[in-house]
């Protein structure tokens, strides 16, 4: 008898990826708690052959965060920061250009007036009908408070992060 194995799909927030890859010693105390969950989640995703999706914005956020909060603050050298960014961006994320109408509608539902960054991740999750995994409690609170019908998990709450 053939048993089909269901492949799981997730949208993964840039913060989860950074938490799982940046050396633990570079992270502040709060981040170190989330870092273990983030790495466990990604390790399980590999084991389960999960497919991890991101909006194209992900690449820009990774490049920016590593330069601004890593290289320019002297956390690591220019060369090491470059290596780190290259390693992250070379992984096989499934990149998407989100549906602009979804992005604007989510942004409006969140009552946001600044960057559409959160909305881009949420729009991809909505379009693919799969959960967004994040380490950002502010994002989760907004989705819950504004009653937005998109599945969002804190990486520490998901079974794969525990």
């Amino acid at each position: 008898m053939n048993q089909s194995v269901e492949i799981q799909h997730f949208v993964i927030d840039a913060n989860v990826v950074l938490l799982s890859v940046i050396p633990i010693s570079a992270l502040d105390a709060v981040s170190q708690v989330n870092a273990k969950a983030a790495q466990q989640f990604l390790a399980q995703a590999k084991l389960e052959n999960a497919v991890l999706h991101v909006p194209e914005l992900f690449d820009s956020e990774v490049r920016n965060a590593i330069y601004r909060d890593g290289i320019s603050k002297g956390v690591f050298t220019f060369e090491d920061g470059l290596t780190l960014a290259r390693e992250i961006l070379a992984a096989n994320w499934q990149r998407h250009i989100p549906n602009i109408e979804f992005v604007y509608r989510v942004q409006q539902a969140m009552n946001r007036t600044k960057s559409t960054g959160d909305a881009e991740f949420l729009a991809v999750a909505q379009e693919l009908d799969c959960p967004l995994i994040t380490a950002d409690s502010a994002l989760i609170n907004t989705v819950q408070n504004q009653k937005i019908a998109i599945s969002v998990f804190a990486v520490t709450d998901h079974p794969w992060g525990q």
Binding site: I7, H9, D13, A14, N15, V17, L18, L19, S20, V21, I22, P23, I24, S25, A26, L27, D28, A29, V30, S31, N34, Q39, L42, A43, A45, K46, N49, A50, V51, L52, H53, E61, N64, A65, R68, D69, G70, K73, G74, V75, F76, T77, D80, G81, T83, L84, E87, I88, A91, N92, W93, Q94, K114, S115, G117, D118, A135, D136, A138
Partner: protein
Amino acid sequence: MSKVNTVPQPKEQKPPKSPESFRGLPRSTIKVLKPGIFNPVEAIRSLRDE
């Protein structure tokens, strides 16, 4: 000799590729010069609050 109108043949349709599964990403071993200050959640949040 009369010309023959040829109808362009549809290109062979390839089945859509199924998305590749995640192959993993190890924690980096790069040297840390200033420990204990990087907060990835704050780093991404501040980009999205601009």
